[in-house]
Subunit: 372 residues, 2 copies
């Protein structure tokens, strides 16, 4: 067989086997412009031999010589968070179309791993880096290192435009507003809210959106029914937080007919907590989530939520980073914040509040979709 010491078939192997020079073989197999000057018979011969031996060009040698790796580093803060997946999918699709390969890395919410992988992105000569982030990564100084090497960076899910990094994220304020408007339309007046952890940049604007839209729709939110999620990195922590807080809500003794969870996992936790305390969702209490991740979709009752256009955000991220690569370092655009529009997805976890139920039902207010 064509095995040399390295175990992989090389151009030299094919050159020897075919009687042509390495150059010719390279020109043919890489379909270089020159290859149209190569005799058809030669081309055929070289090609068949290559196939026979199972030749695959060495990406390392090639990239070294071509000085381009066609690779973008994707640094996800935690792949086990279902939030990341559709974004990744979008990025991947965007890159694939342009012939780029995503170099996927999962930081597992560990700062050290994150830094490691950022290093690797540089060593692997990623031509750009997309970070899918939550709050876990404060200003790792490596981002400076990346800059120093002229690699465009982009972050999705967090606003670092102020620090000079292009960012893509959902319009949290609009999202918060959508949630409470939906509840208002259903007739809810007493709404409990779970805010996100302080470390997370989504928390504040989302809450602002809720507050402002509440004021507009005449809902007043009782401070005692506003809770805050602690900041832990485990994707289950949102769920457990929601479960625990739901019980705290009931413990206040205050009346409420709906809960807005910071995100879907939190909201699922709320549902669990309420059910365990004997409160039925949605009959006795409505629940709204945020994100629209898979578990929210397949839970029963299916959860009403504010969808983030995650895939689209990934696509946009890919588009933008490729665009930056095209430019010369000097001509790189300023870092921009790109906000995407959230979308209300009405499912089964929200209904009119108990008191109004009968009236509303006969008024035909309950249009809803079951699935995504």
């Amino acid at each position: 067989m064509g095995q040399r010491k390295s175990g992989h078939v090389t151009l030299l192997d094919i050159a020897r086997a075919s009687g042509f020079s390495v150059s010719t073989v390279s020109i043919v197999l890489s379909e270089a412009p020159l290859s149209k000057n190569v005799a058809v018979t030669t081309r055929a011969r070289i090609r068949t031999i290559a196939r026979q031996l199972g030749y695959h060009p060495d990406a390392y040698a090639r990239s070294l010589r071509r000085r381009s790796t066609q690779t973008i580093g994707i640094l996800a803060f935690d792949l086990s968070d279902p939030f990341c997946i559709p974004i990744m999918r979008g990025i991947q699709d965007g890159l694939h179309a342009a012939g780029y390969l995503p170099l996927v890395m999962d930081a597992q919410t560990e700062r050290k791993l994150f830094d490691n992988y950022l290093h690797m992105s540089l060593e692997r000569r990623a031509e750009g880096v997309i970070v899918i982030a939550s709050w876990v990564f404060e200003e790792t100084n490596l981002l400076g290192d990346i800059r120093k090497n002229n690699v465009p960076v982009l972050i999705v899910g967090r606003d670092l435009a102020a620090r000079g990094i292009s960012s893509i994220l959902v319009d949290n304020e609009a999202g918060g507003a959508l949630a409470i408007q939906h509840l208002a339309e259903l007739g809810h007046r007493r709404v409990a809210v779970i805010r996100g952890p302080q470390e997370m940049c989504d928390s504040e604007p989302r809450w602002n959106g809720i507050r402002m839209a509440a004021a507009q729709t005449g809902i007043q939110i009782d401070d005692r029914l506003v809770f805050q999620l602690p900041g832990l990195s485990d994707p289950m922590s949102g769920f457990e937080g929601g479960e625990r807080i739901a019980k705290s809500m009931l413990a206040t003794g205050l009346p409420f007919t709906a809960v807005i969870g910071f995100d879907d996992m939190t909201a699922l936790g709320v549902i669990r907590g309420l059910c365990e305390s004997g409160i039925r969702v949605p009959e006795e209490c409505s629940v709204v989530g945020f994100d629209d991740v898979l578990p929210a979709e397949v839970a029963t009752p299916a959860m009403t939520t504010i969808r983030q256009p995650l895939r689209a955000m990934g696509l946009e991220a890919a588009r933008r980073v490729l665009e930056e690569i095209g430019k010369t370092p000097r001509r790189r655009g300023d870092s921009i914040l790109h906000q995407t529009s959230p979308e209300l997805v009405v499912r089964m976890s929200t209904v009119p509040p108990p008191a109004e139920r009968r009236a509303a039902r006969s008024a035909g207010l309950r249009k809803r979709s079951n699935t995504a």
Copy 2:
């Protein structure tokens, strides 16, 4: 700054800036054995300059020269299937400990992408390949190509040992048995079953396990209450299939007090289908899943399921593939099927059947855990 034409800082840059030769710089920065012969002052000088310029060794040049990439290709059939994630996590952890980098690729259930990525694994000189598979990939002939290049392959989630590929998967028969034994202990006698799609190798043994254990526990399964999932690649198809089949079950008019879903997504679909038909879970009907993926854990009621030790399977995969790499091609072990033990996780979706409920409750039979 240290920018040369390539935009990345190289050894040559540091050599120039420090006055030493490229060799010395390399020896110092790569901490080669020879570096203990290098004067301490020299070492310090080189190191600080490297740091100043933001040097990162070029993985391409390095791998080319060292003839080792420290890379393992991980080919997941669909990252948006929550099943994949814990396996990946396990693989990643296993590789990381050995200083290897996973090259994650998401085939998105598309045959073409799968083939593409398999190519890439070869071009990127992955030293081994781990495939996380379901049924989608019949004998893609590229696997032969991989063999030709002496790259050890391993598949998790599918048994291809017969075709000469080491495989890791759960003991489906034992899993199926666990499910029905659990229901039997709760007192169920009329159990409906949803089998997996024919294309999937888990389907048959899982069903065998159910049948055999059913016979042993004296349960007889009515053929008319055995259904089969069609084989589609979308991760939601299991869910939708379950939902649809749940309604078919009810349509038979036959009595049943529990359902075993082929996997968690199917079982979640069953719950949805039953609820929409007014049947309450678990009060009127128990449901058991398989896999133990995140959505099953955070649904309410939390789902009783047969857990696959996914993370452990990933770890084992990493261990095994690294082991193979260590050996010379000749000495590579035969492909082995490694079966892992499933585990019953009792949550809230299973209770004694309606008729027995009262008796059982007073007998203290309802020990259960809420969370994982």
